[in-house]
């Protein structure tokens, strides 16, 4: 046997670990294009695809950081609905009490983000000071936060009292120069998409270049060694859960402005699993200590594309979960570490 073959196999295995998510994306893109042609390639379709996946994408960026710290946050979907419910209730009561719509929207938005941050920090406190395993602590949040938002609205829907400004935020976007839609109007990139990408870029930058990013990786790779190296492990972990909450608050704002209402039983339901799936597809290891935000972004796009192409081709939505599940497992199978 040629002795070089094993080393070549190992090298290709490593390359696959690193770039597998890009390969998967390209293949999926090609298959979708080949299958559906213009229906898929239509810029309007892309706009919708990005727009509808931005909230989960924002959550997945935060989840990447949490998972790198060797933690997990199962409560993100419930944090979204709680933050959105509190924020919209605040906004509505402000409008009812005669505050100007703009001020009400601004204040409501701030409250939404603040509520998310508080909820995330609460998770962090449980994990760090309560010494509860992240899985369990946030499992509690998953149940409790949703139940609190159900209680706020009697399990119903909270409709926005802001007729124009808030929904404009959800429906509007930044025009892309040079691109026109079918009606001849300039094509826009929705605000939600812009927010998602900006957050992803900042997060990736922080992860690879900032002190906090370095400490995060160190804590995730080996908590004991990090403590011995003089890193305040508690502070790092507390911050990462707060950041997760902050991003959940932003996702809540994006989501509720797009609907211009909050359905307390439906909003954010199951988002935690989509976010975790995107992180895993993106090549971040669940045991912590290694990860990348750009991978997660591609992971979000892959998940979005699967739903998109299945919908266009008229596959029953009941089957979409099965396909998604298969892709998740496949992604992990391809990327599983060769160094054990």
């Amino acid at each position: 046997m040629n002795p070089r073959i094993p080393s070549m196999l190992r090298a290709s295995q490593r390359a696959l670990e690193m770039w597998g998510v890009i390969v998967a994306f390209v293949i999926l893109f090609a298959v979708s294009t080949f299958n559906q042609g213009f229906d898929f390639l239509n810029p309007e379709n892309f706009r919708a695809l990005l727009n509808s996946n931005a909230p989960v994408g924002i959550l997945a960026v935060g989840m990447t950081l949490v998972i790198i710290s060797a933690g997990i946050d199962l409560s993100v979907g419930s944090m979204v609905v709680l933050a959105a419910a509190i924020g919209m209730t605040t906004m509505n009561s402000l409008i009812d009490s005669g505050t100007s719509e703009l001020n009400a929207v601004l204040l409501g938005g701030a409250v939404t983000i603040l509520a998310g941050t508080v909820a995330g920090t609460f998770n962090g406190v449980l994990v760090v000071f309560g010494r509860i395993a992240p899985f369990i602590a946030t499992l509690g949040g998953l149940a409790a936060f949703r139940s609190m938002s159900l209680a706020i609205a009697d399990a119903g829907e909270i409709r926005s009292q802001s007729a124009t400004i808030f929904s404009a935020l959800g429906r509007g976007g930044v025009p892309i120069p040079g691109l026109l839609n079918a009606a001849g109007k300039p094509l826009t990139l929705s605000y939600s998409t812009v927010i998602f990408f900006v957050i992803a870029i900042i997060a990736q930058w922080f992860l690879s270049r900032s002190r906090f990013g370095r400490q995060l990786v160190a804590v995730g790779a080996n908590e004991t060694a990090a403590r011995y190296a003089g890193i305040s492990v508690s502070w790092v972990r507390l911050r990462v859960y707060s950041i997760m909450g902050l991003l959940a608050g932003i996702a809540a704002l994006v989501q509720s402005s797009r609907m211009n209402s909050v359905s307390t039983s439906q909003l954010g339901l199951g988002s935690e699993l989509d976010a975790i799936a995107a992180v895993v597809i993106g090549g971040t290891t669940l045991r912590g200590g290694f990860g990348r935000v750009w991978g997660t972004v591609v992971g979000v796009l892959i998940l979005g594309m699967i739903t998109n192409i299945l919908t266009i081709s008229g596959v029953s939505p009941y089957w979409q979960g099965a396909v998604k599940g298969a892709v998740i497992v496949l992604a992990v199978l391809v990327q599983r570490s060769s160094r054990e």
Binding site: R209, R214, N222
Partner: protein, 541 residues
Amino acid sequence: MVARSTPISFSAQALKAQEDLNREILVVNSVTVDYPGVRALDAVSLAFRTGEIHAIVGENGAGKSTMMKVLSGVIRPTSGTINLKGMQRQFTRPSDAIRAGIAMVHQELHLVGTLNVAENVLLGREPTRFLGVAVDHQRQHVVAGELLRQLGSDFDLSTLACDLSIAQQQFVEIAKCLASDARVLIFDEPTAVLGEVEANRLFAVMRRLRDEGRCVIFISHHLDEVISIADRITVLRDGKVVQAFSRNTSGIVQSEDGSIADEGRLAHAMVGHELSSIYPEKMYSTCSSSAIELANFGAKNKSHGISFSVAAGEILGIAGLVGSGRTETAEAIVGIRPCEGVLRVEGREIQFTNPRAAMRSGVAYVSEDRKNRGLHVTLSSICNMMLPSLDKVSRLGGIMIDSHTEKRMTKKWIDTFQIRCARPMQAISSLSGGNQQKFALARWLEARPRVLIIDEPTRGVDVGARGEIYRIIAQLAREGLACIVISSELPEVIGISHRVIVMREGTIAGEIPSERLALKDCQERIVRIASGLSEESFTNK
């Protein structure tokens, strides 16, 4: 077959074994192992015999570990064959080797912490009843107890493995190998984690295993141990066998050309050139101001009543058995463990709550456990290097890391300490033990401490790199750093310290002042104090 039968009658077995002493049981024929870019083993041929202790020595990277991985079925050789009891064998996984009777006592112990001693010993081969459905706990206890008695160990079988000391865990590992009726036992640096007394007990066990007719393969960095215990010594260098020694009838270990194996000759064969004394000359500073002072200090529940003071420029050695509270005391100083008593750093009374606070006051601790505590083995060299001093390479108000600065700083230490690594982004796990240790040391020096506590500075480090590390420590002291060196290796602690204190059962049992360190019987005295055989102490207060 092996899995079901549990060895009961040891005397009968030993008798049978006597008959086939000194037969070649395991033969390695021109085995070559290629890793990407490196030939780890180059056509190595070796024969291992029953009833002998066969030591394999060599620097880190000489191919010892690779050899053992081949024998224990962890990796398959690129070419070459292995014969066991005259039959050619190919092991594709570790369980193949175990089934064939080759067991390895790994350097890292693999006991299941939540199971008790008896369960661990017979893990995977539990005696059963009710048609193999239920574990026969009574017999499990009897069999495991018998195996451990064979090893001269008498600890409670119902203790959970996580509550055992490292030395005790090692004995359980050995008992596990006996339970699988291994004929060939490989010990991979077993004494690295043991103190003098525990190591001697282990050697007694190894001799007993040999006398039962088993083949004992022993890997060690400690040349004195190797010479005193091995019947045959093979020296590996750069993946090749460079010299072989065997014990003749009059008990002297010598090579084929008649040269007698001593530490110098072995070290020479290992590194390929003469080593001058690996301990640097001691420079006694005249500085008398105390850099760190402990008064009635202790780690809660682990040590107590410890008082000493170390001046700037002084190297204080701390000797003692494993478990005598040395590491715990050091950890209490830097705030990893809760402490009691008084700690003064540069005259100021202080108490640290975490290593970060200790570092701010100029006290750094290099952990004995490089893999789990001292370094992040999965991360890059740069990342490891800068972790304790991230604020030095930060800009934008301490938020971002300046990657140019951190590269430059890492490069500087790579040059200063002559660390051999291909590129700074390389994961630290791919470096040899010696180079890892240099990083573990350098990362704290970058933080500019004034007191440096080094726990087991050369554990798992080869001879060549050892000398370099000693020189570094001596140089640091000369520059005015107060050093505390905790070590289980007596020649080391005597060789580099200006003064040695000996700990036993959590407190100071004696002190050896500098003028006594050069005396011949110094080593023996330390052993006597450490093991409580002698109450005499040389405190010169």
